[in-house]
């Protein structure tokens, strides 16, 4: 319905947990990138993206995650993903992204991996 990107965020310890809702398709990938940039501008370097409310992501959204994982690395920051449903987990694995970005089953695991 809504054509806009919707994300809720929550500070947990020194990590910021982002929960994108519904879809990160190629029509909102740019907004997703801007959103992550703004969080990094604010000084956040430990980001968790919780996929539990996400039904859809395509390569444009995956690319944004990859770019931001790269951006965070030099500064000692980290981007960790968690709670993906099976179909989404599968495309992260087929793309080889799971060798590059840490993907955890639960949010607790993601926080512990920080």
């Amino acid at each position: 319905m809504n054509q806009k990107l919707q994300i809720t965020s929550e500070q947990v310890g020194d990590s910021l947990v982002l929960v994108p809702l519904d879809r990160v398709d190629s029509s909102v990938a740019r907004d997703f990138e801007d959103f992550l940039d703004a969080r990094m501008q604010e000084g956040h370097t430990k980001l968790i993206v919780d996929f539990s409310k996400l039904g859809f992501i395509s390569s444009a959204g995956m690319r944004v995650l990859l770019i931001n994982a790269k951006k965070l690395k030099p500064s000692g920051g980290r981007l960790v993903l968690c709670k993906m449903r099976a179909g989404i987990r599968e495309i992260f694995s087929i793309s080889g992204f799971d060798h590059i970005i840490k993907i955890c089953d639960s949010r607790e695991e993601a926080l512990a991996a920080m």
Partner: protein, 145 residues
Amino acid sequence: MRVSEHFSERFNVTLQARLRDLRNLAEMVEAFGRMHDFSQRTTFVINLALDELITNVLVHGQFEVDVEPLIEVELAVPDETAILVIVSNDVRFDPTADTNPDTDSDLLSRGIGGLGLHLVKSQASRYSYEYTDGRNRLTLEYDKP
């Protein structure tokens, strides 16, 4: 007296290629998937294919002069297989040719092109491409949807 008629249930959308329609198109696919008891995974990979292919036409597609960009999507379930056909009128481009995605290099050296088509093809049971009547026509099949 009429002879036996046979048809397969399907749906068909003709659109201008617009990114902002992806979500509504996805909702049509979801509704059609519910009609035919598609698994969550099948609905997801069909919508993935639509996102990747339509985005490609918009981002990379080239058009002859005077051609209004057109996307036609057809989804049919003739049997135990969902058949997705995506037709576009940009100049000939065969997405089934190898795009050689870079899925093994490490984080910092990694290229980011070629991923979309790789994902789409990897999730289909079968796929084929033809160029006829000035239209690109990609057929993706998903068994036991």
